[in-house]
């Protein structure tokens, strides 16, 4: 009796089964996914650029305009998540809609929306960062590491 597989008379090795499954599995459409991600991600960045130009034209300084643009894009991502549109963009856009800051907003608002029913503290408060949390933790960690390297090499 094999304790791991539960099979008494082991007819098939795990590796054999794995290769049988690999033969049947539908293929990921990598090329199509990459092209769509490029186009969707590009469009989001184009909108960001457009907003940046407007803010600069209105007289904001470069750095202020950048911060205002990020805030606006985060708002747009959160808003589109709230009205149930961003998941549809993500379905086609893939990494193209996950990587930009709008995707970051989506990954915070989506769990928060669901956790609302478990209350403000243990629901929204605790679950809001279930997906974005790792990005923040390792983002901060890397920024500190790079800061140290920069300090040593200076």
């Amino acid at each position: 009796m094999n304790e791991k597989t539960g099979s008494g008379e082991q007819q098939l090795e795990i590796s054999e089964y794995q290769s049988l499954i690999n033969r049947i599995m539908p293929r990921h459409t990598y090329l199509k996914n990459a092209i769509l991600a490029f186009l969707v991600g590009g469009c989001i960045c184009l909108i960001g650029q457009f907003i940046l130009q407007i803010y600069t034209a209105q007289g904001l300084e470069q750095q202020q305009a950048q911060a205002a643009t990020s805030a606006t894009m985060v708002f747009l991502g959160a808003f589109l998540t709230g009205i149930g549109v961003y998941d549809r963009i993500g379905k086609h856009g893939g990494a193209g809609s996950i990587v930009p800051i709008t995707g970051f907003a989506n990954s915070i608002v989506a769990p928060a929306m669901e956790a609302r029913r478990e209350g403000f503290i243990f629901g929204i408060g605790a679950r809001m960062f279930t997906i974005a949390g790792p990005v923040l933790v390792y983002g901060f960690l890397i920024s500190v590491l790079i800061g140290i390297i920069y300090f040593l090499l200076r």
């Binding site: 099979s7 795990i14 089964y17 539908p26 990921h28 149930g84 998941d87």
Partner: protein, 336 residues
């Protein structure tokens, strides 16, 4: 008293009768090819409740009540209510039982629970422990996504082999006598794990368990695939059912024109965006309690082997890198 056949199977001495059946489905299932066989198609995925979890429980409870109402059984009059679902601590079934008020046995066999419930219900009846038993299982797409995958509004891409959890429930009312199809045999499966660890690929994880249970069934009962008008798995989906056919072929059993998977029947895969098909505790329950029961009553099917499979994983086991154990239970239902 029943009779044990071989290691896994048994035959009921006085086959329990399925005297009534009912199913309730969500809006998306109501747009699928089996809509004509659904008793109640919801237009609101919340079913008038404030949370998805409450909606899932209400679907299960109303489905069990509907099966009883069709034959004028009052819920407190039944001897046993057997139910299960996919959520942590099977809250949908437990909370549904709160509104039924009958002796309740909660079950978990993941998506194989429907057959587990039928099998145990029939054992209770044939063993003389009761004469009226109601079994029900259900699932809800949004609660399952939430528990096992990502938030609904999260912009993620599902892989092409992912399956879509069915929103819906199926229930059967069974008795020691009456009119209707009868349950003649059962096979209790064992847990089989062939090392699949991707929780998006549950069909592949469960196919070896289905093969194991089906082969045990054929060996124990001395039957062959051709003896059945229909052999039906629960939610193997496109990948899992292909794997099952291959595994069975290697062992000398051919699953051909009489083999189907409920997950492949419940949606129109060319029109509905469900990737490899449906899944969930509600999948086999909705299909069997509706379409299959109707065709058994009409005499289109004489003998059906229902063998739904369950993936026995939890979000914690997945994160800890465990592989996915599978299980399948089988029951034989014959036209009455």
């Amino acid at each position: 008293m029943g009779q044990k056949l071989g290691k896994h199977s048994f035959r009921f001495t006085k086959p329990p009768v399925i005297v009534s059946s009912a199913n309730i489905v969500g809006p998306m299932e109501g747009e699928g090819p089996l809509a004509a066989h659904c008793d109640w198609i919801l237009d609101d995925i919340l079913f008038g409740e404030s949370t998805w979890e409450r909606a899932e429980s209400k679907i299960l409870r109303e489905c069990a009540k509907l099966a009883m109402r069709k034959i004028n059984w009052r819920p407190p009059e039944i001897d046993f209510f057997l139910a299960g679902d996919l959520l942590d601590q099977i809250i949908s079934a437990n909370f549904a039982a709160r509104g039924i008020g009958a002796p309740f046995l909660g079950l978990f066999g993941a998506c194989s629970t429907f057959a587990e419930a039928i099998m145990l219900g029939c054992m209770l009846i044939d063993g003389g422990f009761g004469t009226r038993v109601v079994v029900a299982t259900g699932s809800h797409h949004n609660t399952a996504e939430r528990q096992f995958r990502f938030p609904i509004e999260q912009g993620v891409q599902r892989p092409p082999f992912a399956q879509w959890t069915v929103t819906g429930s199926g229930a059967l009312a069974m008795a020691d006598q009456g009119e209707g199809p009868v349950v003649t045999m059962g096979t209790a499966g064992k847990v089989v794990d062939m090392g699949i660890s991707d929780p998006n690929n549950m069909g592949a994880a469960m196919a070896p368990a289905a093969a194991d249970t089906l082969i045990s069934h054929f060996q124990d009962t001395g039957t062959a695939p051709a003896d059945y008008d229909l052999i039906l798995t629960g939610d193997l989906g496109r990948v899992g059912s292909e794997a099952l056919k291959d595994l069975m072929k290697m062992r000398g059993y051919l699953l051909e024109g009489n083999y189907f998977d409920c997950g492949m029947l419940i949606y129109d895969q060319s029109r509905q965006d469900v990737h490899a098909g449906g899944s969930g505790c509600g999948c086999s329950a909705v299909v069997f309690a509706g379409s299959i029961m109707n065709q058994l009553r009409e005499g289109r099917y004489r003998k059906v082997l229902l063998a739904p499979t369950g993936a026995l994983l939890s979000p914690v086991s997945t994160q800890q890198g465990e592989t996915i154990p599978g299980i399948a239970h089988a029951v034989v239902v014959e036209g009455g």
